[in-house]
Protein backbone atom coordinates (compact mmCIF):
# COMPACT_ATOMS: atom_id res chain seq x y z
CA UNK A 1 0.00 0.00 0.00
CA UNK A 2 2.90 2.31 0.73
CA UNK A 3 3.98 1.84 -2.86
CA UNK A 4 0.65 3.16 -4.02
CA UNK A 5 1.55 6.45 -2.41
CA UNK A 6 4.90 6.43 -4.13
CA UNK A 7 3.24 5.64 -7.43
CA UNK A 8 0.74 8.39 -6.85
CA UNK A 9 3.58 10.89 -6.89
CA UNK A 10 4.56 9.58 -10.34
CA UNK A 11 7.99 8.60 -9.15
CA UNK A 12 9.84 5.37 -8.74
CA UNK A 13 13.03 4.54 -7.03
CA UNK A 14 15.04 5.09 -10.23
CA UNK A 15 13.46 8.45 -10.88
CA UNK A 16 14.18 9.35 -7.29
CA UNK A 17 17.83 8.64 -7.91
CA UNK A 18 17.72 11.01 -10.85
CA UNK A 19 16.45 13.89 -8.78
CA UNK A 20 18.47 13.02 -5.73
CA UNK A 21 20.97 15.73 -6.44
CA UNK A 22 18.34 18.46 -6.58
CA UNK A 23 18.21 20.54 -3.41
CA UNK A 24 14.64 20.66 -2.19
CA UNK A 25 15.59 22.72 0.86
CA UNK A 26 18.41 25.18 1.15
CA UNK A 27 19.27 27.41 4.11
CA UNK A 28 21.98 30.02 3.58
CA UNK A 29 23.48 31.93 6.49
CA UNK A 30 20.21 31.77 8.36
CA UNK A 31 20.12 33.61 11.66
CA UNK A 32 17.06 33.90 13.83
CA UNK A 33 16.56 35.72 17.08
CA UNK A 34 13.53 35.40 19.33
CA UNK A 35 12.42 38.40 21.38
CA UNK A 36 14.73 41.38 21.42
CA UNK A 37 12.01 44.00 21.67
CA UNK A 38 9.15 44.22 24.06
CA UNK A 39 5.82 45.68 23.20
CA UNK A 40 5.72 49.39 22.38
CA UNK A 41 9.31 49.22 21.20
CA UNK A 42 10.89 48.74 24.59
CA UNK A 43 13.89 46.46 24.79
CA UNK A 44 12.97 44.82 28.07
CA UNK A 45 12.87 41.32 26.57
CA UNK A 46 16.25 39.68 26.24
CA UNK A 47 16.85 38.40 22.72
CA UNK A 48 17.70 34.73 22.24
CA UNK A 49 19.64 33.61 19.21
CA UNK A 50 18.00 30.39 18.06
CA UNK A 51 19.97 30.02 14.82
CA UNK A 52 23.25 31.60 13.88
CA UNK A 53 24.49 31.61 10.28
CA UNK A 54 23.16 28.16 9.54
CA UNK A 55 23.75 26.81 6.06
CA UNK A 56 22.15 23.51 5.19
CA UNK A 57 20.97 21.71 2.08
CA UNK A 58 18.59 18.79 1.89
CA UNK A 59 18.19 17.00 -1.42
CA UNK A 60 15.13 15.27 -2.73
CA UNK A 61 15.25 11.63 -1.66
CA UNK A 62 17.41 12.44 1.32
CA UNK A 63 16.42 11.90 4.93
CA UNK A 64 18.33 14.26 7.19
CA UNK A 65 18.33 14.00 10.94
CA UNK A 66 18.79 17.05 13.17
CA UNK A 67 20.23 16.37 16.56
CA UNK A 68 21.30 18.52 19.44
CA UNK A 69 20.29 19.49 22.94
CA UNK A 70 17.08 21.39 23.69
CA UNK A 71 17.36 24.96 22.47
CA UNK A 72 20.01 24.11 19.89
CA UNK A 73 17.75 25.23 17.04
CA UNK A 74 16.39 21.95 15.63
CA UNK A 75 12.72 22.97 15.73
CA UNK A 76 13.52 26.48 14.51
CA UNK A 77 15.06 25.00 11.35
CA UNK A 78 11.94 22.91 10.78
CA UNK A 79 9.70 25.95 11.30
CA UNK A 80 11.80 28.02 8.92
CA UNK A 81 11.68 25.31 6.26
CA UNK A 82 7.91 24.98 6.60
CA UNK A 83 7.42 28.75 6.36
CA UNK A 84 5.87 29.07 9.79
CA UNK A 85 8.76 31.35 10.73
CA UNK A 86 10.69 33.98 8.80
CA UNK A 87 14.30 34.14 10.00
CA UNK A 88 15.83 37.40 11.09
CA UNK A 89 18.39 37.16 8.28
CA UNK A 90 19.58 34.76 5.61
CA UNK A 91 17.74 32.82 2.90
CA UNK A 92 15.45 29.85 3.22
CA UNK A 93 14.70 28.25 -0.14
CA UNK A 94 11.99 25.71 -0.66
CA UNK A 95 12.15 24.18 -4.14
CA UNK A 96 14.20 27.16 -5.28
CA UNK A 97 11.69 29.64 -3.90
CA UNK A 98 13.01 32.09 -1.30
CA UNK A 99 10.47 31.91 1.53
CA UNK A 100 11.92 34.99 3.21
CA UNK A 101 10.66 37.16 0.37
CA UNK A 102 7.20 35.71 0.29
CA UNK A 103 4.15 37.05 2.05
CA UNK A 104 2.44 35.11 4.85
CA UNK A 105 -0.28 34.10 2.39
CA UNK A 106 2.22 32.81 -0.17
CA UNK A 107 4.21 30.92 2.47
CA UNK A 108 0.95 29.34 3.65
CA UNK A 109 0.16 28.27 0.09
CA UNK A 110 3.65 26.85 -0.40
CA UNK A 111 3.38 24.97 2.88
CA UNK A 112 0.00 23.58 1.87
CA UNK A 113 1.24 22.29 -1.47
CA UNK A 114 4.84 21.34 -0.78
CA UNK A 115 5.40 20.67 2.92
CA UNK A 116 4.01 18.03 5.25
CA UNK A 117 4.53 18.49 8.99
CA UNK A 118 4.55 15.77 11.66
CA UNK A 119 4.52 16.98 15.26
CA UNK A 120 5.72 15.23 18.38
CA UNK A 121 2.28 15.57 19.98
CA UNK A 122 0.37 14.67 16.82
CA UNK A 123 -1.82 17.79 16.94
CA UNK A 124 -4.90 16.18 15.48
CA UNK A 125 -8.19 18.02 15.77
CA UNK A 126 -10.04 16.14 18.52
CA UNK A 127 -13.53 16.70 17.15
CA UNK A 128 -12.74 15.33 13.69
CA UNK A 129 -12.49 11.68 12.69
CA UNK A 130 -9.16 10.24 11.56
CA UNK A 131 -10.29 10.53 7.95
CA UNK A 132 -11.43 14.14 8.36
CA UNK A 133 -8.10 15.02 9.99
CA UNK A 134 -6.21 13.53 7.06
CA UNK A 135 -8.43 15.31 4.55
CA UNK A 136 -7.95 18.68 6.26
CA UNK A 137 -5.09 19.95 4.05
CA UNK A 138 -7.13 19.10 0.95
CA UNK A 139 -10.05 21.35 1.93
CA UNK A 140 -8.26 24.55 1.02
CA UNK A 141 -7.00 23.01 -2.21
CA UNK A 142 -10.58 23.02 -3.46
CA UNK A 143 -10.74 19.25 -3.91
CA UNK A 144 -14.35 17.98 -3.88
CA UNK A 145 -15.44 16.18 -0.74
CA UNK A 146 -15.80 12.69 -2.29
CA UNK A 147 -12.28 12.93 -3.70
CA UNK A 148 -10.97 14.16 -0.33
CA UNK A 149 -12.60 11.26 1.48
CA UNK A 150 -11.22 8.77 -1.04
CA UNK A 151 -7.71 10.18 -0.81
CA UNK A 152 -7.84 10.25 3.01
CA UNK A 153 -9.13 6.68 3.17
CA UNK A 154 -6.34 5.51 0.87
CA UNK A 155 -3.73 7.26 2.98
CA UNK A 156 -5.11 5.77 6.18
CA UNK A 157 -5.09 2.37 4.55
CA UNK A 158 -1.48 2.92 3.52
CA UNK A 159 -0.46 3.61 7.11
CA UNK A 160 -2.33 0.55 8.33
CA UNK A 161 -5.40 2.27 9.71
CA UNK A 162 -8.06 1.22 7.23
CA UNK A 163 -10.31 0.15 10.08
CA UNK A 164 -9.87 3.38 12.01
CA UNK A 165 -11.12 5.93 9.49
CA UNK A 166 -14.15 7.00 11.48
CA UNK A 167 -12.48 6.93 14.88
CA UNK A 168 -11.87 10.14 16.77
CA UNK A 169 -8.28 10.84 17.85
CA UNK A 170 -9.28 10.19 21.46
CA UNK A 171 -10.21 6.65 20.49
CA UNK A 172 -6.79 5.90 19.00
CA UNK A 173 -3.55 4.82 20.61
CA UNK A 174 -0.47 7.06 20.51
CA UNK A 175 1.06 5.12 17.63
CA UNK A 176 -2.18 5.20 15.68
CA UNK A 177 -2.49 8.94 16.22
CA UNK A 178 1.03 9.50 14.90
CA UNK A 179 0.20 7.35 11.87
CA UNK A 180 -2.85 9.54 11.26
CA UNK A 181 -0.61 12.60 11.58
CA UNK A 182 1.81 11.14 9.02
CA UNK A 183 -1.08 10.37 6.68
CA UNK A 184 -2.25 13.98 7.09
CA UNK A 185 1.25 15.24 6.30
CA UNK A 186 1.17 13.19 3.11
CA UNK A 187 -2.30 14.31 2.05
CA UNK A 188 -1.11 16.96 -0.37
CA UNK A 189 1.69 14.70 -1.65
CA UNK A 190 4.37 17.11 -0.41
CA UNK A 191 7.91 17.38 -1.71
CA UNK A 192 9.27 18.05 1.75
CA UNK A 193 8.39 16.29 4.97
CA UNK A 194 9.43 17.73 8.33
CA UNK A 195 9.02 15.76 11.54
CA UNK A 196 9.68 17.15 15.01
CA UNK A 197 10.43 14.35 17.49
CA UNK A 198 8.01 12.01 15.71
CA UNK A 199 8.60 9.18 18.18
CA UNK A 200 8.92 11.35 21.26
CA UNK A 201 5.53 10.36 22.67
CA UNK A 202 5.65 6.71 21.66
CA UNK A 203 6.98 3.54 23.22
CA UNK A 204 9.97 1.85 21.61
CA UNK A 205 8.07 -0.72 19.58
CA UNK A 206 5.49 1.74 18.29
CA UNK A 207 8.25 4.24 17.60
CA UNK A 208 10.04 1.71 15.41
CA UNK A 209 6.96 1.06 13.30
CA UNK A 210 6.37 4.80 12.89
CA UNK A 211 10.00 5.29 11.84
CA UNK A 212 9.70 2.49 9.33
CA UNK A 213 6.64 4.17 7.91
CA UNK A 214 8.35 7.56 7.86
CA UNK A 215 11.43 6.29 6.03
CA UNK A 216 9.30 4.40 3.52
CA UNK A 217 7.09 7.35 2.61
CA UNK A 218 10.08 9.69 2.71
CA UNK A 219 12.23 7.93 0.16
CA UNK A 220 11.22 10.14 -2.73
CA UNK A 221 10.95 13.36 -0.78
CA UNK A 222 13.26 15.58 1.18
CA UNK A 223 12.80 14.68 4.82
CA UNK A 224 14.02 16.57 7.89
CA UNK A 225 13.67 14.80 11.21
CA UNK A 226 14.53 16.51 14.49
CA UNK A 227 15.12 14.12 17.34
CA UNK A 228 17.06 13.33 20.49
CA UNK A 229 16.49 9.65 19.92
CA UNK A 230 19.46 7.67 18.55
CA UNK A 231 17.20 5.00 17.08
CA UNK A 232 15.33 7.63 15.12
CA UNK A 233 18.51 9.24 13.87
CA UNK A 234 19.90 5.86 12.88
CA UNK A 235 17.37 5.51 10.07
CA UNK A 236 18.38 8.83 8.46
CA UNK A 237 20.83 9.23 5.59
CA UNK A 238 22.69 12.02 7.31
CA UNK A 239 22.73 13.53 10.76
CA UNK A 240 23.30 17.25 11.27
CA UNK A 241 24.46 18.17 14.75
CA UNK A 242 23.53 21.50 16.29
CA UNK A 243 24.64 23.35 19.40
CA UNK A 244 23.64 26.84 20.47
CA UNK A 245 22.05 27.53 17.10
CA UNK A 246 25.09 26.58 15.07
CA UNK A 247 25.79 23.52 12.96
CA UNK A 248 28.78 21.78 14.42
CA UNK A 249 28.66 18.80 12.08
CA UNK A 250 26.70 18.66 8.83
CA UNK A 251 27.07 14.89 8.52
CA UNK A 252 28.89 15.14 5.22
CA UNK A 253 32.47 15.48 6.39
CA UNK A 254 32.54 12.47 8.68
CA UNK A 255 30.58 9.31 8.97
CA UNK A 256 26.93 9.87 8.54
CA UNK A 257 23.99 7.87 9.78
CA UNK A 258 25.55 7.63 13.22
CA UNK A 259 24.44 9.94 15.96
CA UNK A 260 27.15 11.46 18.07
CA UNK A 261 25.22 11.10 21.26
Amino acid sequence: MIHRILRARGTSRSSTDEVASQAAVRLEDVTHEYGGRGRFGSSRERSVTALEEVTLTVDTGEIVGLQGPSGSGKSTILHAVSGLLVPTSGRVELLNTDLSERSDRERTRLRRTHVGIVFQRFHLLPSLSARANVALPLVQAGIPKPARRKRASELLESVGLADRTTHLPGELSGGERQRVAIARALASDPDVLVADEPTGELDTETGRSVLELLTTVGRNRAVLVASHDSETLAVTDRVVSLADGRIIDDGRSGRSNTPSS
Partner: protein, 382 residues
Protein backbone atom coordinates in the same frame (compact mmCIF):
# COMPACT_ATOMS: atom_id res chain seq x y z
CA UNK B 1 -19.69 26.98 22.59
CA UNK B 2 -22.20 25.54 25.05
CA UNK B 3 -21.95 28.73 27.10
CA UNK B 4 -22.69 30.81 23.99
CA UNK B 5 -25.71 28.62 23.20
CA UNK B 6 -27.16 29.00 26.67
CA UNK B 7 -26.60 32.74 26.96
CA UNK B 8 -28.04 33.46 23.52
CA UNK B 9 -31.04 31.22 24.21
CA UNK B 10 -31.79 32.86 27.57
CA UNK B 11 -31.36 36.40 26.24
CA UNK B 12 -33.50 35.76 23.16
CA UNK B 13 -36.11 34.02 25.30
CA UNK B 14 -36.35 37.03 27.61
CA UNK B 15 -36.49 39.38 24.63
CA UNK B 16 -39.46 37.47 23.21
CA UNK B 17 -41.29 37.42 26.53
CA UNK B 18 -40.92 41.19 26.93
CA UNK B 19 -41.90 41.73 23.29
CA UNK B 20 -44.89 39.43 23.81
CA UNK B 21 -45.96 41.53 26.79
CA UNK B 22 -45.57 44.68 24.73
CA UNK B 23 -47.61 43.18 21.91
CA UNK B 24 -50.33 42.15 24.34
CA UNK B 25 -50.34 45.73 25.65
CA UNK B 26 -50.84 47.03 22.14
CA UNK B 27 -53.23 44.29 21.07
CA UNK B 28 -55.73 44.34 23.88
CA UNK B 29 -55.57 40.67 24.85
CA UNK B 30 -58.54 38.35 25.30
CA UNK B 31 -61.11 41.09 24.83
CA UNK B 32 -60.20 41.41 21.15
CA UNK B 33 -60.87 37.77 20.31
CA UNK B 34 -64.11 37.86 18.32
CA UNK B 35 -65.58 36.74 15.00
CA UNK B 36 -66.48 40.19 13.70
CA UNK B 37 -65.87 40.99 10.04
CA UNK B 38 -64.50 44.43 10.75
CA UNK B 39 -63.54 46.64 13.64
CA UNK B 40 -63.77 50.34 14.07
CA UNK B 41 -60.96 51.41 16.34
CA UNK B 42 -59.84 54.83 17.55
CA UNK B 43 -57.39 56.67 15.38
CA UNK B 44 -54.46 57.49 17.65
CA UNK B 45 -53.93 60.79 15.86
CA UNK B 46 -57.49 61.99 16.26
CA UNK B 47 -58.83 64.18 19.00
CA UNK B 48 -61.71 62.28 20.51
CA UNK B 49 -64.07 62.55 23.40
CA UNK B 50 -62.13 59.77 24.92
CA UNK B 51 -60.14 58.57 27.89
CA UNK B 52 -56.53 58.41 26.86
CA UNK B 53 -54.15 56.64 29.19
CA UNK B 54 -52.61 53.26 29.54
CA UNK B 55 -55.94 51.79 28.46
CA UNK B 56 -55.66 53.59 25.16
CA UNK B 57 -57.95 55.90 23.32
CA UNK B 58 -61.66 55.09 23.28
CA UNK B 59 -64.48 55.92 20.92
CA UNK B 60 -67.38 58.07 22.05
CA UNK B 61 -71.13 57.96 21.30
CA UNK B 62 -70.72 54.37 20.26
CA UNK B 63 -74.20 53.11 21.17
CA UNK B 64 -75.96 55.62 18.96
CA UNK B 65 -73.53 55.34 16.11
CA UNK B 66 -73.56 51.53 16.25
CA UNK B 67 -77.33 51.75 15.91
CA UNK B 68 -76.85 53.92 12.81
CA UNK B 69 -74.53 51.31 11.38
CA UNK B 70 -77.01 48.53 12.00
CA UNK B 71 -79.59 50.40 9.94
CA UNK B 72 -77.42 50.30 6.82
CA UNK B 73 -77.64 47.65 4.15
CA UNK B 74 -74.75 45.21 4.25
CA UNK B 75 -74.37 45.45 8.00
CA UNK B 76 -75.75 42.45 9.87
CA UNK B 77 -74.87 43.69 13.31
CA UNK B 78 -72.70 46.26 15.06
CA UNK B 79 -71.79 46.30 18.72
CA UNK B 80 -69.69 48.60 20.87
CA UNK B 81 -67.16 46.58 22.79
CA UNK B 82 -65.88 47.81 26.13
CA UNK B 83 -63.41 45.91 28.28
CA UNK B 84 -62.86 46.73 31.95
CA UNK B 85 -61.18 44.70 34.66
CA UNK B 86 -63.48 44.31 37.61
CA UNK B 87 -64.01 42.37 40.82
CA UNK B 88 -66.72 39.76 41.03
CA UNK B 89 -67.71 37.55 43.89
CA UNK B 90 -70.25 34.86 44.42
CA UNK B 91 -72.92 36.16 46.79
CA UNK B 92 -71.89 35.36 50.32
CA UNK B 93 -68.45 34.07 49.45
CA UNK B 94 -66.62 37.25 50.46
CA UNK B 95 -63.81 36.45 48.06
CA UNK B 96 -63.79 38.88 45.14
CA UNK B 97 -61.90 37.74 42.07
CA UNK B 98 -60.41 39.86 39.32
CA UNK B 99 -62.13 39.27 36.00
CA UNK B 100 -62.00 40.99 32.63
CA UNK B 101 -65.53 42.21 31.98
CA UNK B 102 -66.31 42.63 28.31
CA UNK B 103 -69.38 44.60 27.38
CA UNK B 104 -71.21 43.70 24.18
CA UNK B 105 -74.54 44.39 22.55
CA UNK B 106 -75.88 40.97 21.52
CA UNK B 107 -78.49 40.25 18.87
CA UNK B 108 -80.49 37.20 17.96
CA UNK B 109 -77.59 35.66 16.02
CA UNK B 110 -74.96 33.65 17.91
CA UNK B 111 -71.69 35.59 17.75
CA UNK B 112 -68.36 35.31 19.48
CA UNK B 113 -66.86 38.12 21.51
CA UNK B 114 -63.89 37.73 23.86
CA UNK B 115 -63.89 34.08 22.87
CA UNK B 116 -67.39 33.57 24.30
CA UNK B 117 -70.75 33.15 22.59
CA UNK B 118 -73.11 36.11 22.95
CA UNK B 119 -76.21 33.97 22.45
CA UNK B 120 -76.61 33.26 26.16
CA UNK B 121 -77.01 36.96 26.89
CA UNK B 122 -80.26 37.01 24.97
CA UNK B 123 -81.68 39.71 22.72
CA UNK B 124 -80.54 43.26 23.14
CA UNK B 125 -84.08 44.62 23.38
CA UNK B 126 -85.10 42.71 26.46
CA UNK B 127 -84.92 44.75 29.66
CA UNK B 128 -83.14 47.71 28.15
CA UNK B 129 -86.04 50.04 27.57
CA UNK B 130 -86.66 50.94 31.19
CA UNK B 131 -82.99 51.94 31.67
CA UNK B 132 -82.44 49.25 34.23
CA UNK B 133 -79.40 46.95 34.03
CA UNK B 134 -79.94 43.68 32.25
CA UNK B 135 -78.10 41.94 35.09
CA UNK B 136 -76.95 39.00 33.04
CA UNK B 137 -73.45 37.63 32.67
CA UNK B 138 -71.79 34.85 30.68
CA UNK B 139 -68.69 33.38 32.30
CA UNK B 140 -65.78 31.62 30.74
CA UNK B 141 -64.88 28.30 32.32
CA UNK B 142 -61.78 29.85 33.87
CA UNK B 143 -63.91 32.58 35.44
CA UNK B 144 -66.51 30.10 36.69
CA UNK B 145 -63.77 27.96 38.23
CA UNK B 146 -62.24 30.97 39.89
CA UNK B 147 -65.57 32.15 41.31
CA UNK B 148 -66.81 28.61 41.93
CA UNK B 149 -69.98 29.72 40.20
CA UNK B 150 -72.36 27.93 37.86
CA UNK B 151 -75.38 28.79 35.73
CA UNK B 152 -78.11 30.50 37.73
CA UNK B 153 -75.83 31.77 40.49
CA UNK B 154 -75.96 35.35 41.64
CA UNK B 155 -72.75 37.41 41.47
CA UNK B 156 -72.12 40.79 42.96
CA UNK B 157 -69.63 43.46 42.12
CA UNK B 158 -68.11 44.73 45.37
CA UNK B 159 -66.72 48.22 45.14
CA UNK B 160 -65.43 49.74 48.38
CA UNK B 161 -65.15 53.15 46.72
CA UNK B 162 -68.61 53.09 45.25
CA UNK B 163 -70.60 56.31 45.56
CA UNK B 164 -74.27 57.02 45.12
CA UNK B 165 -73.58 58.14 41.55
CA UNK B 166 -72.11 54.80 40.56
CA UNK B 167 -74.66 52.06 40.80
CA UNK B 168 -73.59 48.71 42.15
CA UNK B 169 -73.99 45.77 39.85
CA UNK B 170 -75.59 42.48 40.65
CA UNK B 171 -75.69 39.91 37.88
CA UNK B 172 -77.03 36.43 37.25
CA UNK B 173 -74.93 33.82 35.51
CA UNK B 174 -76.86 32.82 32.40
CA UNK B 175 -74.23 30.45 31.05
CA UNK B 176 -70.76 29.11 31.53
CA UNK B 177 -69.14 28.94 28.12
CA UNK B 178 -66.12 27.06 26.95
CA UNK B 179 -63.95 29.72 25.37
CA UNK B 180 -62.88 28.99 21.80
CA UNK B 181 -59.40 27.64 21.26
CA UNK B 182 -57.66 30.78 20.14
CA UNK B 183 -54.98 31.14 22.75
CA UNK B 184 -57.16 32.83 25.36
CA UNK B 185 -58.85 29.75 26.72
CA UNK B 186 -57.50 30.27 30.21
CA UNK B 187 -58.32 33.95 30.44
CA UNK B 188 -60.86 34.77 33.16
CA UNK B 189 -63.29 36.81 31.08
CA UNK B 190 -67.01 37.44 31.33
CA UNK B 191 -69.53 38.89 28.90
CA UNK B 192 -72.06 41.48 30.03
CA UNK B 193 -74.27 43.98 28.26
CA UNK B 194 -72.19 46.91 27.17
CA UNK B 195 -74.73 49.33 28.61
CA UNK B 196 -74.42 47.64 31.99
CA UNK B 197 -70.64 47.91 31.91
CA UNK B 198 -70.73 51.52 30.68
CA UNK B 199 -73.07 52.32 33.51
CA UNK B 200 -70.90 50.61 36.08
CA UNK B 201 -67.61 52.07 34.85
CA UNK B 202 -68.88 55.63 34.46
CA UNK B 203 -68.66 55.52 30.67
CA UNK B 204 -72.40 55.76 30.20
CA UNK B 205 -72.79 59.43 29.40
CA UNK B 206 -70.25 59.45 26.59
CA UNK B 207 -71.16 55.90 25.55
CA UNK B 208 -67.48 55.04 25.51
CA UNK B 209 -66.18 51.84 24.00
CA UNK B 210 -62.79 50.44 23.03
CA UNK B 211 -64.04 49.64 19.56
CA UNK B 212 -67.09 48.79 17.52
CA UNK B 213 -67.19 45.30 16.11
CA UNK B 214 -69.23 44.93 12.94
CA UNK B 215 -70.57 41.83 11.21
CA UNK B 216 -71.57 41.92 7.53
CA UNK B 217 -70.09 42.76 4.18
CA UNK B 218 -66.59 44.13 4.64
CA UNK B 219 -66.76 46.58 1.75
CA UNK B 220 -70.05 48.01 2.95
CA UNK B 221 -68.77 48.21 6.52
CA UNK B 222 -65.63 49.96 5.34
CA UNK B 223 -67.58 52.66 3.53
CA UNK B 224 -70.27 53.17 6.14
CA UNK B 225 -67.86 52.86 9.05
CA UNK B 226 -65.63 55.61 7.72
CA UNK B 227 -68.67 57.83 7.27
CA UNK B 228 -70.16 57.13 10.69
CA UNK B 229 -66.86 57.23 12.58
CA UNK B 230 -64.79 59.79 10.61
CA UNK B 231 -62.25 60.08 13.41
CA UNK B 232 -61.67 56.30 13.60
CA UNK B 233 -60.05 53.58 11.55
CA UNK B 234 -61.91 50.64 10.02
CA UNK B 235 -59.90 47.43 10.19
CA UNK B 236 -60.79 44.22 8.46
CA UNK B 237 -60.65 40.79 10.19
CA UNK B 238 -58.63 41.28 13.31
CA UNK B 239 -55.52 39.29 14.06
CA UNK B 240 -52.70 39.92 16.43
CA UNK B 241 -50.62 42.18 14.26
CA UNK B 242 -47.07 42.98 15.41
CA UNK B 243 -47.43 46.33 13.67
CA UNK B 244 -49.80 47.24 16.50
CA UNK B 245 -46.63 47.83 18.52
CA UNK B 246 -46.00 50.96 16.48
CA UNK B 247 -49.43 52.32 17.35
CA UNK B 248 -48.95 52.15 21.08
CA UNK B 249 -46.29 54.33 22.66
CA UNK B 250 -45.89 52.31 25.84
CA UNK B 251 -45.74 48.99 24.01
CA UNK B 252 -43.30 50.35 21.45
CA UNK B 253 -41.07 51.75 24.18
CA UNK B 254 -41.10 48.43 26.02
CA UNK B 255 -40.26 46.43 22.91
CA UNK B 256 -37.54 48.83 21.75
CA UNK B 257 -36.02 48.83 25.22
CA UNK B 258 -36.12 45.02 25.25
CA UNK B 259 -34.47 44.99 21.82
CA UNK B 260 -31.66 47.33 22.88
CA UNK B 261 -31.04 45.58 26.18
CA UNK B 262 -31.22 42.21 24.45
CA UNK B 263 -28.75 43.32 21.78
CA UNK B 264 -26.28 44.68 24.32
CA UNK B 265 -26.49 41.67 26.64
CA UNK B 266 -26.54 39.15 23.82
CA UNK B 267 -23.57 40.65 21.96
CA UNK B 268 -21.60 41.02 25.21
CA UNK B 269 -22.19 37.39 26.13
CA UNK B 270 -21.42 36.14 22.63
CA UNK B 271 -18.19 38.15 22.51
CA UNK B 272 -17.10 36.90 25.91
CA UNK B 273 -18.04 33.24 25.54
CA UNK B 274 -16.93 32.93 21.91
CA UNK B 275 -13.68 34.69 22.79
CA UNK B 276 -13.08 32.22 25.62
CA UNK B 277 -13.91 29.35 23.31
CA UNK B 278 -11.47 30.52 20.64
CA UNK B 279 -8.83 31.07 23.28
CA UNK B 280 -9.26 27.47 24.46
CA UNK B 281 -9.06 26.29 20.88
CA UNK B 282 -5.92 28.13 19.80
CA UNK B 283 -4.07 24.86 19.24
CA UNK B 284 -6.64 23.80 16.68
CA UNK B 285 -6.18 27.12 14.89
CA UNK B 286 -2.43 26.52 14.93
CA UNK B 287 -2.98 23.10 13.38
CA UNK B 288 -5.08 24.67 10.65
CA UNK B 289 -2.26 27.12 9.97
CA UNK B 290 0.34 24.37 9.91
CA UNK B 291 -1.59 22.34 7.32
CA UNK B 292 -1.85 25.39 5.08
CA UNK B 293 -5.24 26.92 5.83
CA UNK B 294 -4.66 30.66 5.29
CA UNK B 295 -5.52 33.32 7.83
CA UNK B 296 -8.73 34.24 6.03
CA UNK B 297 -9.81 30.60 6.06
CA UNK B 298 -9.07 30.26 9.76
CA UNK B 299 -10.96 33.46 10.58
CA UNK B 300 -13.85 32.27 8.43
CA UNK B 301 -13.99 29.07 10.48
CA UNK B 302 -14.19 31.13 13.68
CA UNK B 303 -16.81 33.50 12.24
CA UNK B 304 -19.01 30.76 10.84
CA UNK B 305 -18.84 28.65 13.99
CA UNK B 306 -19.66 31.69 16.16
CA UNK B 307 -22.62 32.71 14.00
CA UNK B 308 -23.85 29.13 13.65
CA UNK B 309 -23.76 28.74 17.42
CA UNK B 310 -25.59 32.04 17.74
CA UNK B 311 -28.34 30.93 15.35
CA UNK B 312 -28.77 27.59 17.13
CA UNK B 313 -28.93 29.50 20.43
CA UNK B 314 -31.53 31.82 18.92
CA UNK B 315 -33.66 28.87 17.81
CA UNK B 316 -33.50 27.48 21.34
CA UNK B 317 -34.33 30.98 22.57
CA UNK B 318 -37.43 31.10 20.37
CA UNK B 319 -38.66 27.88 21.96
CA UNK B 320 -37.79 29.27 25.37
CA UNK B 321 -39.54 32.56 24.61
CA UNK B 322 -42.76 30.92 23.42
CA UNK B 323 -42.73 28.65 26.46
CA UNK B 324 -42.10 31.71 28.65
CA UNK B 325 -45.03 33.60 27.14
CA UNK B 326 -47.31 30.60 27.64
CA UNK B 327 -46.10 30.16 31.21
CA UNK B 328 -46.46 33.85 31.95
CA UNK B 329 -50.05 33.84 30.74
CA UNK B 330 -50.87 30.86 32.91
CA UNK B 331 -49.16 32.40 35.94
CA UNK B 332 -50.80 35.78 35.40
CA UNK B 333 -54.25 34.28 34.88
CA UNK B 334 -53.89 32.28 38.06
CA UNK B 335 -52.90 35.30 40.11
CA UNK B 336 -53.45 38.94 39.34
CA UNK B 337 -54.05 39.74 35.71
CA UNK B 338 -57.27 38.92 33.91
CA UNK B 339 -56.79 38.14 30.25
CA UNK B 340 -53.68 37.59 28.24
CA UNK B 341 -50.63 39.52 29.43
CA UNK B 342 -48.31 38.33 26.67
CA UNK B 343 -48.97 37.06 23.17
CA UNK B 344 -46.79 35.11 20.78
CA UNK B 345 -46.69 35.63 17.04
CA UNK B 346 -45.04 33.59 14.29
CA UNK B 347 -43.01 36.62 13.24
CA UNK B 348 -41.22 36.39 16.59
CA UNK B 349 -39.13 33.49 15.26
CA UNK B 350 -37.40 35.32 12.40
CA UNK B 351 -37.26 38.45 14.56
CA UNK B 352 -35.37 36.59 17.29
CA UNK B 353 -32.97 34.94 14.86
CA UNK B 354 -32.36 38.31 13.20
CA UNK B 355 -31.64 40.00 16.53
CA UNK B 356 -29.31 37.18 17.55
CA UNK B 357 -27.49 37.35 14.23
CA UNK B 358 -27.09 41.11 14.60
CA UNK B 359 -25.74 40.58 18.13
CA UNK B 360 -23.39 37.95 16.72
CA UNK B 361 -22.13 40.34 14.06
CA UNK B 362 -21.56 43.03 16.69
CA UNK B 363 -19.69 40.55 18.88
CA UNK B 364 -17.64 38.77 16.26
CA UNK B 365 -14.64 41.13 16.04
CA UNK B 366 -13.52 40.01 19.51
CA UNK B 367 -13.17 36.25 18.84
CA UNK B 368 -11.72 37.11 15.43
CA UNK B 369 -9.10 39.31 17.07
CA UNK B 370 -8.13 36.48 19.41
CA UNK B 371 -7.94 34.07 16.49
CA UNK B 372 -5.83 36.48 14.45
CA UNK B 373 -3.40 36.90 17.34
CA UNK B 374 -2.87 33.15 17.70
CA UNK B 375 0.71 32.12 16.97
CA UNK B 376 1.06 28.70 15.42
CA UNK B 377 4.64 28.44 16.66
CA UNK B 378 3.67 29.05 20.27
CA UNK B 379 0.81 26.59 20.15
CA UNK B 380 2.50 23.68 18.39
CA UNK B 381 5.48 23.95 20.72
CA UNK B 382 3.37 23.85 23.88
Amino acid sequence: MAATLVTVAVTVGLLLVVTGIALALADGGAATNDDGDAHIVPDEQASLSAVDGVEGTRLGETNDRAEELRAHEGVDHASPILAEPGHLEAVGSGEPQTVLLVGVLPDEEPRTVAGLSTSSLGDTEAGSEDGQPHGEIVLSEATADRLEASEGDELSVPDPEATANVPSLSVTVTAVEEADSDGDTDAPVALVYVTDLQSFSGAENDQLADRVTVWGDEEAISAIGAETFPEATVESQRTTDPRALFDDGLALAASVLALLVGLVICSSFIATTAGMSVNDDRRSLAVLESVGIPRRGRLTVVAVSTLATTVVGAILGVALGFAGIYGLDIAASATVAPGTVAVAHPVFAPYAVGVALLAGLIAIPYPLAIAARTSALEEVNR
